[in-house]
Amino acid sequence: MSENKEYKVIGTRPIRHDGVDKVTGRAIYGADFQITGLLHGRVLRSPHAHAKIVSIDTSRAEALPGVKGIVTAQDLPAAEDKMADLGEGAVNLKYLCDNILASDKALYKGHAIAAVAATNPHIAGEACTLLDVEYEVLPPVLEVRQAMEPDAPILHDNIRTSSLGETGEKPSNVASHLQHKKGDIEKGFTEADVVIEREFVTGTVHQGYIEPHNATALYNPDGQLTVWCSTQGAFTVREQLAEILQYPISKIKVVPLEIGGGFGGKINVYIKPVAALLAKKTGKPVKVLMNRADVFEGTGPTPASYLTIKIGATNDGKITAAQTSLAFEAGAYPGSPVGAGAMCVFAPYNIENVLIDGYDVVVNKPKTAPYRAPGATNAAFGTETVIDELAETLNMDPLEIRLKNGAKEGDRRADGPVFPRIGFIETIEAAQEHPHYTSSNGKKHHGRGVASGFWFNIGLESSVTISVNPDGTVNLVEGSTDIGGTRASIAMQAAEVLGIPAESVNPTVVDTNSIGYTAVTGGSRTTYATGYAAYEAAQDVVKQMKARAAKLWDVDEDNIQFADGEFSSINGKEEQISFRDLSAKLSQTGGPVVGRATMNPAGAGGAFATHVVDVAVDEETGKVEILRYTATQDAGKAIHPSYVEGQIQGGVVQGIGWALNEEYIYNDEGEMTNASFLDYRMPTCLDLPMIDAVIVEVPNPGHPYGVRGVGEVPIVPPPAAIANAIYDAIGVRMTELPMSPDRILKALGKI
């Protein structure tokens, strides 16, 4: 496990196993699925942000030729107000069901009200316009501070604030209040020579995956429900379907097809239960596809937030105290990522005195969903901007103040955990030494900014089986849907153990009937945890193959060793056989060899990143241009460096979009006015330079090859790094996201 260990496969850059299918258009994504007798479903969505549903009359729609079935919330089993365990954490079942099809109230524009199955999608769409829904429109609550006002309109009559073990008496939009305390916050600020306190606001942003949600469902007369879809986790879809439909889990098979992006947004189900209801009602397979506006308005974005950050430091740059209040919009139902934000907000720094308050607040917007390090980007925008201001006030280099206070092994986070070996300091040092940071940046209206970020990563459950083929290749079966090259990164770990090339492992992602439970592709866990399972399954193969070699040579199993793809006997004789040759002798030595492993590893290790960005600000138009971007990140051990770089580059660019352009723009009625890719402007390649991804490798002690998850943390630093660069360029501190041209011009006093 040493840092300098030579690997044969790990650290190389093989062509991904699913590559040819994906560059030839042959890979089958959710919407590509075809089946005989298919009907097409379409969902009617609420035009109002907040309204009581008085009545739904389906008679005109039913009369349209080609319409085969209509469902509403009446077709869902009556949901109890109880907590359902979905493996990823408990969720209130009533909220879960009401978000699929609204029962009594529409809580956001785009909230699903009813759905139609018809012989083609155009007829289903026409039928939706013939559904007569009577609403009683209510005033919407669209912003977290407004929602927290005592006289704000109430979304849910049953929500009482749950605060530190106490429950409030009156209905409130504040679903919960959490707190983390460390040390003595008052004492900490007294010890400080400089204290800076600022407020920050961030907008609602979407994951922006290019593939809309999709589902095809089929009910057989024997009660078997099959759902083909794209998802980050087939098993979590199965669990959600079982709870929402109150249907036995053993009668549900979820088949994950290729997935076109998710970033956290394809864990929750939306139209999958609707497709199932329509399939049951019509007796035919039903495909339901979202369009882009449905995706923006009907699926979970990541929350807008309001935060205050207060940090104190001594004149020599030692941070003595940090305090924050994080108020996150949960959307229509409780469950924002404020908890994760609270875990990450000050995590990069070893601070003795900390007080963190977090508030989960419902508003009339879509129920939020995870988005790449959910909560951490909002929080870091505040923290990393204030740290920049502290460095400036103390006349310190912004990387130096981070180096001085950066968390190391043994330091305790304010929310409890003690860091194992982590590589934060190494990412700062890599940034300091990078030619980008050592270059000059003195042009007028040009600025440089830095910021760091943390994400905790997760482990969770994974299962892998590996069967040995007679030609010395193996088939690897896994349950982790491949969203960005994980067939390769998982297969490579098995190949390393078996001493065979990456190309000799055939990885396949299978349905929920064909592999043991595997949690979502999320939390930066897949290469870590499913890769760990592949490592263990390969070890199981080696163990069984050793027994075969022992049988072949009639020696004791303990006398067989395996190294560099060769089995050999260690009892004096010169017997040796390659993995490939032994694979051809399995029939003679006892039959097939299938290795297996299930894992639930706890040592995901934390991920840290430090970014450097140069910008140019056009003071006439307010436009910010990214001139150069360097991202250093501790990957633990990069299994396939190209795909690690890809995660870093992709995360950075999502962060740039969040920083500069992206937000849900609402009118007073609570309608999103920019629900298209034209108006919700994600970065194009013309907006960007190359992104220099610098991989730092500080092995994670919780993985046999030292892997840390890499997917999420790269989105965390960009908004703060860019804000700090804008300040360097034009001398104005930006405290609201996105830092779009109009906000830049306002900050400059030009409009």
């Binding site: 850059r13 994906k22 042959r26 290019i210 593939e211 795909y643 999502q654 992104i691």
Partner: protein
């Protein structure tokens, strides 16, 4: 029911006939009638480029073209880019450069890149970025895509 129209066209060099409703887009025809699902729907209003195809030598968003408009014309789709036993250099370059993650935008990018390199075999980085600005990718940050297209240009 809407009366369907007869269309005769050439797709990837093969003569193809189909019936379609006047309201059906070329993207819908390719995917639902002809089962050529390599072109993807990301937005259905011409903003993401995932449905890019080449129509009579010109790059188009197939979601913005009607199926009936291709009568007598010639369409190239992602399914026709590779030879039976050999990928196109752009496809090879995408694989070598790890220029895809989820892969949903990849067919569109490859068609756009092909349309560019067919016209301009030696583009600069800026020309590549300008030409590909109609294709959205949310996974890669574009770095490796731009490198792949530049590599493919130097390989051909």
């Amino acid at each position: 029911m809407v009366r369907k129209l007869h269309v005769q066209t050439a797709i990837n060099g093969e003569t193809v006939e189909f019936l379609c409703e006047p309201r059906q887009s070329l993207l819908e025809v390719l995917r639902d009638e002809l089962h050529l699902t390599g072109a993807k729907e990301g937005c259905n209003n011409g903003n993401c480029g995932a449905c890019s195809v080449i129509l009579d030598g010109r790059l188009v968003n197939s979601c913005l073209v009607l199926g009936v408009e291709i009568d007598g014309k010639s369409v190239e789709t992602i399914e026709g880019v590779a030879e039976p036993e050999k990928l196109h250099p752009i496809q090879d370059a995408f694989l070598e450069n790890a220029a895809l993650q989820c892969g949903i935008c990849t067919p569109g990018f490859i068609m756009s890149a092909k349309a560019l390199l067919d016209k301009n075999p030696n583009p600069t980085e800026h020309e590549v970025r300008y030409w590909l600005a109609g294709n959205l990718c949310r996974c890669t940050g574009y770095d490796k895509i731009v490198r792949a297209v530049l590599d493919a240009a130097s390989a051909t």
